[in-house]
């Protein structure tokens, strides 16, 4: 069994949008004999790439949901996870990374390390995913893989090392030189499926030798024997170098770089060899779970099929046969008919049908072993749930979930749509934790929240297509926050005498801005009890805390949550008959509201880190557009005919920016954004927002 595990790879492909991930996945499937014809993402044959299973993805040319698929390459089984590239869908990327043992970081040979590559790289570091890089699109005009390698070193601080150099570039790209074996490799046949090895072309010999030296030098840091051989000036066997590179890659201290062009069918097979040679098998990665029965202490999972089963549901999809749950088995194995427990709900479930996925086609299997990725039918769960063998109560560490920054009201057009919408929302919220929904008690409207305009757009679109739910969409709303800027005291007495037992409570203390330290788990609120001499009885202290928390849920300025406050009670009064939990809660709530008005209330708005990439000729227009949007230009980088502009812009000003940018750059510029921080909104903006809020509430 262990031998089999050594032949397994769970890998993901992640990259900046349009670096050609989907095309690369498509080629990998082709060379591994999983599909019989190659379709292009933007293809004319109307079939589209096999990995993009949704119509919508085909239309937009982007991969929204990761599709897991198994292929075999030279006796190894590779489970491949295609991940979305747009920043709005990062939760998908993060969730995929969680279940991967290794990854291919795809870069464009022209664009190099772009904003999304940086985000993805940061995520890979968080989950300690060993990676190899693939510099794609070496056939494009302006291709410069050497510059991309420099960027990997400078921008991502990766110890990147070229395994190959290109033979020709741009339209002259013919093949690659394998630096390890010093052979020129050409890709013949209509789809590049026939490999032809030749001597290294004379004109590339110099470059190849110096790059090879660099490769050996970097690899030798991971093998003392190899270092010795090198120092003695002797030849180093290829296997030894490969072992050293593997060691370096697994310890995240080395990043082997491959190159080619997926579109032109060049350089894919050596990349697959690289996956097999340098990325870890499931036993080489330490996976941890939390033991819920033992105070959530960390336990290390063992890739042993004999151990009790632990599996993670990392993705749900809705197919024609009902819900499909993608799982990764971390320990033990899953067989048809097994009974497992969902750690979150404590519900038992029985494994009915077990399948292996190939994009949208499937293959029935009877058992999924340790380290395997498979899919289950008819299991009711949410993504991120852990399944354990009965008797075990482990939870896989919860994935990091960012908070939504934008919301949108949606109203179904008719009764049928309303039902379908409910179904769709139920599904989407299960699939994607960054997509949230609730019914606004005041307007009675359904509100959806997410990570950006495009993120919500895609879900509205999916409701229409997949669930036939026609909805009207309101204006996007920014998730503001309310805060205080200075300390304010309170001393509030709540008294009510309406026959029978009355209500009495007095609370005194102060509120002040909260600067959380590293030890603070709650970064937004801290409750401090400084009551001395029992002026408030101990039993009512939690009531005060609760009252403050209620007050902070909805700020008086805009109705958004209040953040960053220390609430301290230091005095009060009570009555033996009339004081109650309720009375103290009410007193604390009103005391907070009173103090809040005195504490320099402010409105915080989300500030987005925006990166625009464009041909230099539109630089001026882009500067202007950022300036108009209350943005700060942090930097601008020019490189030949392209420029990259980094800016910080308030989210509220970014609505519709994609359209504006497209029209002013003839569709040649693109941008990405993500939440950077919250900052105090300027006076004029705050005033306007408050006015609108008051107008809206006038009628009520």
């Amino acid at each position: 069994m262990t031998k089999e595990l050594a032949l397994m790879r769970n890998i993901g492909i992640s990259a900046h949008i349009d670096s050609g991930k989907t095309t690369l996945s498509e080629r990998i499937l082709f060379y591994c004999n999983r599909i019989h014809a190659i379709h292009e993402v933007h293809g004319k044959d109307g079939v589209g790439a096999t990995m993009d299973s949704m119509d919508l993805e085909r239309e937009r040319g982007i991969t929204i949901e990761s599709a897991a698929t198994s292929v075999s390459w030279k006796n190894h089984e590779i489970n491949l996870i295609d991940t979305p590239g747009h920043v709005d869908f990062t939760i998908e990327v993060e969730r995929s990374l969680r279940v991967l043992d290794g990854a291919i970081l795809v870069l464009c040979s022209v664009g190099g390390v772009q904003s999304q590559s940086i985000t993805v790289d940061r995520q890979m570091n968080r989950y300690k995913v060993p990676r190899i890089a693939f510099i794609n699109k070496c056939d494009r005009t302006g291709a410069n893989p050497y510059r991309v390698v420099d960027q990997l070193r400078e921008k991502l601080f990766l110890n990147a090392v070229l395994m190959e150099i290109p033979i020709g570039l741009e339209d002259h790209l013919q093949g690659v030189v394998d630096l390890l074996r010093m052979k020129a490799v050409y890709f013949d046949g209509p789809n590049g499926e026939i490999l032809r090895e030749e001597e290294v072309p004379q004109e590339l010999m110099g470059e190849a030798l110096s790059r090879r030296e660099e490769l050996l030098d970097k690899a030798s840091a991971f093998d003392d024997d190899m270092m010795e051989l090198l120092l003695e000036g002797e030849d180093v066997p290829v296997e030894m170098v490969e072992k050293a590179i593997r060691r370096g890659t697994l310890s995240l201290q080395l990043c082997p770089v491959f190159l080619g062009s997926a579109h032109k069918n060049k350089g894919i097979q050596p990349l697959l060899d690289g996956v097999v040679k340098f990325l870890p098998d499931p036993t080489e990665v330490t996976n941890r779970a939390l033991d819920m029965d033992n105070n959530e202490s960390e336990v290390i999972l063992r890739s042993d099929p004999a151990e009790p089963t632990v599996a993670l549901a990392f993705k749900l999809t809705d197919g024609q046969y009902g819900q499909l749950t993608y799982i990764r088995v971390y320990q033990g194995h899953i067989r048809k008919g097994d009974e497992l427990v969902n750690t979150r709900t404590r519900r038992r479930l029985r494994i009915g049908r077990l399948v292996k996925m190939h994009a949208s086609e499937m293959e029935d299997i009877s058992e999924a072993g340790c380290g395997d990725i498979a899919a289950l039918f008819g299991i009711d769960c949410a993504s991120g749930d852990t399944f354990c063998a009965p008797g075990l109560n482990y939870a896989m560490t919860s994935s990091y979930v960012p908070t939504p920054v934008i919301s949108l009201a949606i109203t179904p057009k008719d009764k049928k749509s309303a039902d379908n919408m409910a179904k769709a929302l139920n599904r989407f919220t299960k699939e994607d934790p960054t997509f949230q929904t609730y019914v606004d008690p005041e307007s009675n409207q359904t509100i959806i929240k997410g990570m950006g305009e495009l993120h919500l757009d895609v879900y509205v679109e999916r409701m229409r297509r997949e669930y036939k739910a026609e909805v009207e969409v309101g204006m996007p709303q920014v998730a503001y926050r309310e805060a205080i800027t200075r300390r304010a005291e309170f001393n509030y007495t709540h008294k009510k005498q309406t026959g029978g037992s009355g209500q009495f409570a007095r609370v005194a203390g102060y509120i002040e801005p909260f600067t959380p330290g590293p030890e603070d788990e709650d970064r937004e609120y801290r409750f401090v009890n400084e009551v001395k001499g029992g002026t408030i009885p101990t039993e009512f202290i939690p009531s005060c805390d609760k009252g403050f928390r209620t007050a902070m849920k909805k700020g008086p300025q805009l109705g958004f949550p209040i953040v960053g406050v220390v609430c301290c009670v230091n005095d009060g009064a009570w009555h033996p008959v009339d004081s109650s939990d309720m009375a103290f809660q009410t007193a604390a709530l009103n005391a907070f509201r009173e103090a809040f008005a005195q504490a320099g209330p402010a409105i915080l708005e989300p500030i987005m880190k925006v990166e625009v990439e464009s041909p230099s000729e539109f630089q001026g227009a882009i500067f202007g557009s950022i300036n108009q949007r209350r943005g700060i230009i942090v930097s601008s980088t020019e490189d030949h005919s392209n420029c990259t502009i980094d800016a910080e812009v308030p989210l509220s000003e970014m609505f519709g920016y994609s359209t504006v940018l497209r029209s002013m750059s003839q569709g040649k510029a693109e941008f990405t954004m993500e939440l950077d921080h919250y900052a105090k909104a300027p006076q004029s903006v705050s005033e306007q927002l408050k006015k609108e809020y008051e107008e809206k509430n006038k009628g009520k």
Binding site: D150, Q151, E154, K155, S616, Q619, G620, A621, F623, G624, I626, N627, I632, I633, V634, S635, S636, T637, E638, D639, H640, D646
Partner: protein
């Protein structure tokens, strides 16, 4: 300490006195030395002083790594704000950030015309009213007289101060007694202030000398040196 105290006590005031009260708008100033003396830190210190005074500036770099430049600013600010325990340092820094744009050219041998065109675009279309432009690592010694004249004209037209940090672009260049590379000689007539930086082993400090000050060609000490630890200008 308040910001205005920090400004008035800054060693940069001493430095400015030594060059007749400062470089002045429309003029070109050059800090010249061999590699690795601390010109970048020195330039960023001058920039930070301007930012503290609420001025707007553009930092032009040629390294290809913007993050690196931003870190210099962070470091220099941290150094001076902590040393003088500046009040409300976080808010001050945020305002400074808003008034600074880093413009980076990663292409080798980018033309002066291209740089000037990008700067003008930022100032005009980006509505960024720059008071100063600082060039870090530009190979001024390789520039032609014509190039320097264009920069000077640009500085005058936009009414901005222009600072350069300069090291020789090629190896094997000689230096004068103040640390200025010989390759600077042909450009001396075109620039307004030239400051040489040279490491003095006895004092273990970098000595800054005014080699040329507006129209005067009489060299004299600046009254300030570079601290070899922080690379910042000190009294």
């Amino acid at each position: 300490m308040q910001v205005n105290e920090l400004i008035s006590n800054s060693p940069i005031r001493v430095f400015e006195e030594s060059i007749n009260g400062g470089l002045g708008k429309g003029n070109i100033g050059v800090l010249a030395s061999r590699h690795g003396i601390g010109k970048t830190a020195c330039l960023v210190h001058i920039a930070t002083d301007k930012l503290l005074q609420g001025q707007h500036l553009i930092h032009v770099s040629f390294s290809g790594n913007v993050e690196h430049v931003l870190n210099w600013y962070k470091e220099v600010f941290r150094e001076i704000s902590q040393y003088k325990s500046l009040d409300d340092a976080f808010a001050v820094y945020n305002t400074m950030r808003e008034n600074r744009v880093v413009m980076n050219f990663s292409q080798e041998n980018v033309s002066v015309d291209r740089i000037i065109s990008s700067l003008s675009t930022l100032i005009r279309q980006g509505a960024f009213q720059a008071d100063a432009v600082l060039f870090d690592g530009y190979h001024l010694t390789k520039a032609t007289e014509e190039d320097v004249r264009k920069i000077k004209a640009f500085a005058q037209e936009m009414n901005i101060e222009v600072w350069f940090s300069v090291s020789p672009a090629v190896q094997g260049v000689g230096y004068d007694e103040f640390g200025v590379p010989e390759t600077m000689a042909p450009l001396k007539d075109l620039i307004d202030v030239l400051v040489g930086l040279k490491y003095n082993e006895e004092k273990s400090k970098v000595i800054m000398t005014v080699v040329q000050d507006h129209h005067s060609r009489v060299s004299h000490p600046t009254g300030v040196t570079l601290d070899p630890r922080t690379m910042l200008i000190t009294d």
